[in-house]
Symmetry: C2
Subunit: 120 residues, 2 copies
DNA sequence: TGAACATATGAGCAATTGCTCATATGTTCA
DNA sequence: TGAACATATGAGCAATTGCTCATATGTTCA
């Protein structure tokens, strides 16, 4: 059952078992890790980040976002779905038009943290 | 020169020009956007996030990280380079061994913000 | 200096991603 | 109800990505 003895790296040498064990306990569980990376993956595309920036100013309909960014309505719609899946944006329908807005202000906090890092 | 009249989306209707103009001014410049999405893209992979979590506990050598995560030394090395490119980790050499550690505590802040969002 | 070892790196491949195109769905209004 | 319109969605494709394999680079020590 215990497989910590199986030190295969680097021809059985070098491994600092204590450090590895400590790190292993710090690793997040599978589900948390999945959710977390999925969330950040969403921030890793310029079209999506542009959409989020646009929504900082006010809610917008799909069509307006498409015009603003110079991409297809379809592309915007696909990306909005991705943003919605991770609950970064929400939508409301008004007649034929669907307005999208930021789900909460985590978006801004996360982007600001990122900005702070890159602008050092 | 002015091309705001060119409302091509949705058969020339629907566009809320004021909203679009306001949003356009809020968009980040090209370089900032590039740096920002590149940074978040790095957080969008589970191997890289696992490495960061491991480094939360202490500095570690490449070999230890490889054993911890059960991936190749090569894979770890490639990912560490990516993490280094965006200045999330730094390294120091001690003889044949290279120890990696977190570059600063933006890493933790960003991940914590992400966690807070996904665990709502 | 050369053998041993830790790490870095390039090539190549399967999997993923973001887009466009075509079309489906949902809503309004005459 | 059906035409008009805003949005959503599936298929398909080019580009990107993360891995492994092979090997190069850097360091120590006898």
């Amino acid at each position: 059952m215990e497989d910590r003895y199986n030190v295969e790296c680097c021809d059985l040498v070098c491994a600092h078992e204590d450090v590895i064990d400590r790190a292993r306990r710090a690793l997040p569980d599978e589900d948390t890790l999945y959710d977390l990376t999925e969330l950040f993956r969403i921030f890793g595309d310029s079209t999506r980040v542009r959409i989020l920036y646009a929504l900082f100013t006010s809610e917008m309909c799909v069509c307006d976002i498409a015009e603003l960014l110079g991409v297809t309505q379809s592309a915007v719609s696909h990306q909005l779905r991705a943003l919605k899946n991770v609950r970064l944006v929400k939508s409301r329908r008004d007649g034929k038009t669907v307005y999208y807005s930021l789900a909460d202000d985590h978006v801004k906090t996360i982007i600001d943290q990122g900005l702070e890092h890159v602008s050092e």
